[in-house]
Amino acid sequence: MKEKAKIIEKTPGSISRRTLLGGILAAAVLPVDELFALEKDTINIPNVINEDPTKAPGPGPSPLGKRSTFEKPVRKPSDISSRTPLQDLHSTITPADLHFERHHAGIPAIDPDKHQLLIHGLVEQPMMFTLADLKRFPSITRTCFIECAGNFRTGKEEMTPQDILGLTSQSEWTGVLLSTIFNEVGVQAEAKWFLAEGADAAVMTRTIPLAKAWDDAMIVYAQNGEAIRPEQGYPIRLLLPGFEGNMNIKWLRRIELSEEPYMTREETSKYTYPVKDKIRMFSFEMDARSIITYPSYPQQINKGYVEIRGLAWSGRGKVIKVEVSTDSGKTWEIAKLQEPVLSKAHTYFRYLWNWDGSSTEILSRVTDETGYLQPTLKQLVEVRGPNIGGYHMNPVTAWQIRKDGSVLFKPENYTK
């Protein structure tokens, strides 16, 4: 009856009898900080669950932190990508290990001391930069989202935000402005575009307008305060705030300036989409979008106050307004935006709803600073035609609230 402790897992972090005994002995002769330094070489998180945690000391400090064993957010991988668990996160920053992935020939293993960036083409002086060189330039930090251009799935009710649009994530990125580097090599007057190329087995290439370099493009080496993750382009990637994810070339090794675009595979036969009887290419900016992440499938709500929460963003600037409907889109109310609202960044919104227990649908829609209001799927089909494809889809999405408090996605059919 009086079970004092329940051992969840037997790992180096659990308190063994020897550790406890050692601790007690040490306590007699060592100062307190020495006592807690005993297990410095292991990852110490308390995983002996005490009924009363105030009655037994926990493990001490460790070299590397770890999530609580109660928290198990995971990406959802397919053969070619993995999705961020948006429904498990709070506010706007994506932990680096949960950032979505999309790569075309796997993750290359790169020695940062050997990695170099070549810049050539229409420049005054072709140059080679090591990672150490890049870190010597003025270091800039920017928080923004990266979203895959093919970030929309629908088709069944049992879908989470992760399933629907988990190919968007947000980080605090640190690196050097591309304009600083272009100034260093000197750009010739005829240059209008630049090719960016990765050091992966796809040798991924995209052409980017030079204006983006003078505006806000960066070469980044850090993500949320540490070196960027291998799957995010370690040791360096291109960052093009607001542009489709594929152009933010990872494992960046070469930039070539040119008077015209290269028409690479990823900017012609991929990342393009039918618009009526034409195919739209070079569609760079991600249009404004929002999603309610709470409540969402598979969460459950209770009658009374429910704070509706979610994310809104635009590749064209700041979010200026998010509206929430709790009556299936008949009326809309203004949601609160979490400050600071950053340009080309996930913006957290919330709206306090007093649910009366009846079945309904809840939706969100965003307006960005250019005056663009997030469209419905019907509007997108009207302007682009029924052969719409899967790129640059940003429709308003609805969650169905059932009387029992369960939440289901509302799939809408649109393909021919």
Partner: protein
Amino acid sequence: MVFSFLVVLIVISINDSFVVAQKRQSLNDDLKKPIKFGFGRAATGVEITAWDIDVRSDGKGLPAGQGDVKKGKVIYHSKCAVCHGVGGRQTGEAKLPGGALVSDTLATGKLKTIGNYWPYATTLFDYIRRAMPYNLPGSLTNNEVYSLSAYLLNANNIVGDSVVLNAENLAEVVMPAKKLFIMDDRRGGAEIK
């Protein structure tokens, strides 16, 4: 005594504000005329040649060499068909790992292939050379890439059986899908497009 202490304080504060104003001025100057830092080094011609593998739609970057349909067919079926299907075609139910490459030109099917969805022939050469075959990227010779390009363009009814492709004529191949492609016509603002 008290009086002289005050004087010293005033002098210090004037000096401080002067320094701050000077710093601001120099920062503004930096932004107007960015300096060259002198970090990094000049790249050598050998280094540039080793990495400069891109081919532009006007043919710039195409290397010496040539290839034909017959040779391309042999290479295709030994190195590509396992992922892209016999003859580059989707047959049966099982989805091809690398997708189909061949279809009737501009057919209104769901499959996006070279024949109905690729606007430039040069892209074919560039992509095959840099990224294919998937398990051994960068392993094909320039002649093999020309031959594969010839075979795949022929299979899609874009070039004839006797074509020999090289740096001079690949960029001249007109792709059926080219007339369908338009540059982004969204302009930001309120319009849904």
